[in-house]
């Protein structure tokens, strides 16, 4: 590298970690999420029964053996909730990562190049955003046929535009900001400028957005499965387990526990996301103490 490195006032770190740690929301959110991640990793050892085996009596209420009761086919609900982590969590992660990467890059390209490319990309995002996301995902998933893979494809197709929009506007504001121009004037090429001055500044807000979006990815995925357009039975997936409960209202535990699982992890993620947004937003000193 040459000595063209200018001091860059616009560069900021992801967040000041100590600040975020003073926030009880951030701490409780992180604890919840880490617990769920541990459950995901150790699921096979934590589940007392085979999540697919129909070995117990049917529709047993929660008891000492079947902590969360059994479903209409005599499967252990607790084991199925544990096993369900291995569907919802990794799939939602993959979903968020791919749409984050795709959406961000597309938005950066649109913002950096401008003109016709920008126009085309933004019109497409407009049309996709003209649908409420679960509706468009439902339409696509129904067309592709019900399977977990197709649900993921459907959700990918609806979830990239929000990243595109934001990364585009970030890039546009950065492109004309003084420190980027200063870098360009001092001889950085387009690529260097993108990599060194723009990318780090786009990355942190995008990551916060993605972290917060992980919760809605889980909600959307389980929503599609609830509609029968996601994971195919008998696979243990939280949304379709809740849906199993609709035919047995008296056996409340069939739906209650998987739904609670979805709720707790999404709450954890949203607590973290909220705290991170606070730490990033210079205007809000909204710290919960």
């Amino acid at each position: 590298m040459s000595n063209t490195r200018v001091t860059v006032p616009g560069r900021k770190r992801l967040m000041r970690v100590p600040d975020a740690w003073k926030n009880p929301l951030a701490i409780s959110g992180t604890v919840i999420v880490v617990l769920w991640l541990l459950v995901t990793v150790f699921a096979p050892w934590l589940a007392p029964f085979d999540p697919l085996a129909q070995e117990s009596a049917r529709l047993l209420a929660p008891n000492g053996t079947n902590w969360f009761g059994t479903d209409a086919l005599g499967r252990d609900v607790f084991s199925r909730v544990i096993a369900g982590t291995r569907t919802s969590i990794p799939v939602a992660m993959i979903l968020v990562v791919i749409s984050l990467l795709f959406g961000t890059v597309l938005g950066a390209v649109a913002g950096f190049l401008g003109t016709a490319v920008d126009e085309v990309i933004m019109r497409v995002t407009d049309v996709v955003l003209a649908f409420p996301s679960i509706i468009l995902a439902m339409v696509i998933a129904a067309a592709l046929g019900p399977s977990l893979m197709n649900a993921v494809i459907a959700l990918l197709l609806v979830s990239w535009p929000q990243y595109t929009r934001i990364s585009r506007s970030l890039v546009i504001s950065l492109r004309s900001s003084e420190f980027v121009i200063a870098g360009r004037l001092m001889g950085s090429g387009v690529f260097t400028s993108l990599r060194r001055d723009i990318a780090p500044n786009v990355a942190s807000p995008m990551l916060v957005l993605a972290a917060a979006d992980f919760g809605s990815a889980i909600l959307l995925l389980s929503g599609l499965s609830f509609l029968g357009l996601g994971a195919v039975p008998p696979a243990p997936e939280w949304g379709s387990m809740v849906s199993d409960g609709t035919s047995n209202f008296s056996a409340w535990w069939i739906a209650a526990f998987p739904g609670l699982a979805i709720f707790t992890i999404v709450v954890g993620v949203n607590f973290m996301g909220d705290a991170m947004r606070d730490a990033l937003d210079p205007r809000s000193n909204g710290r919960l103490s």
């Binding site: 933004m122 019109r123 509706i135 067309a143 509609l227 809740v242 609709t246 409340w252």
Partner: protein, 367 residues
Amino acid sequence: MALTTTDARVPGGAPAAETGAPRPPRRQHPLLRYISLRFGISILLVWGVTVVTFVVTNLVPTDPVNAVLGEQAANNPEIVAALRTEMGLDEPLIVQYWLYLTRLLAFDMGVSAQTRSPVADDLARAFPATLELALFVLLFSTVIGVGLGMLAALRHQTAVDKTIRVLSLFGISLPVFWIAMLIYYVFFYQLHWAPGSGRLDSALVPPPLVTGMYTIDSLVAGQPDLFWNALSHLVLPAVVLTLFTIGTLVRFSRSAILDVVRHDYVQAARAKGLPHRIVVVRYILRGASLPILTMSGLTFGSLLSGAVLTESVFSWHGLGQYAYMAAISLDLQAIMGVGLLIGVVYIFTNFAVDLLCGLIDPRVRVQ
């Protein structure tokens, strides 16, 4: 930037540079310009939505002919061939799209494989039910949501603010289909506090059709008993959808009001010695009205999504239940119809919101 480029496509944007002379200023009212621009954008989006539903329909690996025909007929190659020609499936895609579009303009969205009746008729029946629910919820959740958001913002950084903030985070984390079942189970199945399914008690006859919304139609027909019954049926699904939307509304109105409170004009109003009540209602709330209105519009859209995931639990015969039934039986024509309708409703809701914003905001209204 996006606005100006789309502007160029709006009819009336006459070619300017025909002569070298400066263009005579067209005395078009700014509000009119704004409305026509927004309308043009909405029409473009609707067109885009039809492209999406068309493309998605053509992704289908299964032959749409089979969806229309019974199993026996589908095994008869002559009937299949005749139908293919009739449906235009032998034509190139662009022609097929044209046929699709002309059919749509005549409100022909195909026949539902499940109900065996035209999708357009089904939607016309189902939509008022969902609209009724959505309007009630929109009213409730906007009033409560904006109220709580304002309370939190005005008590910024206090215990009230923090409590409301945590509760709203709980709200946005709820899987709506799950909370629907819990509420159904507790308040109908266990406690019998409110009717749990349908739009009216099964013994009752719906009021004569005016709007399709039972609460309104019963009042129009002068049947107060029917009105109260319909209202009691609304309660539980309305509570669920309110829970579903309120978190976002609270968070959004809180930050919108915090933005406003920072402005000098609020300090200026206080410096004039106006009482707190007037400052809040006249200055702060009016300042936050545009973002809150926009948010309510988006809420309406998300209510339609919420309806898809809740109506089936309450046997509410609206778009949501129709979509759910269509989804689980893979009734593609019906699903496309729902998607198209919700997309269009969503777009025009946003158009209506833009219009209202234009009417409210003097910076748009007057030059």
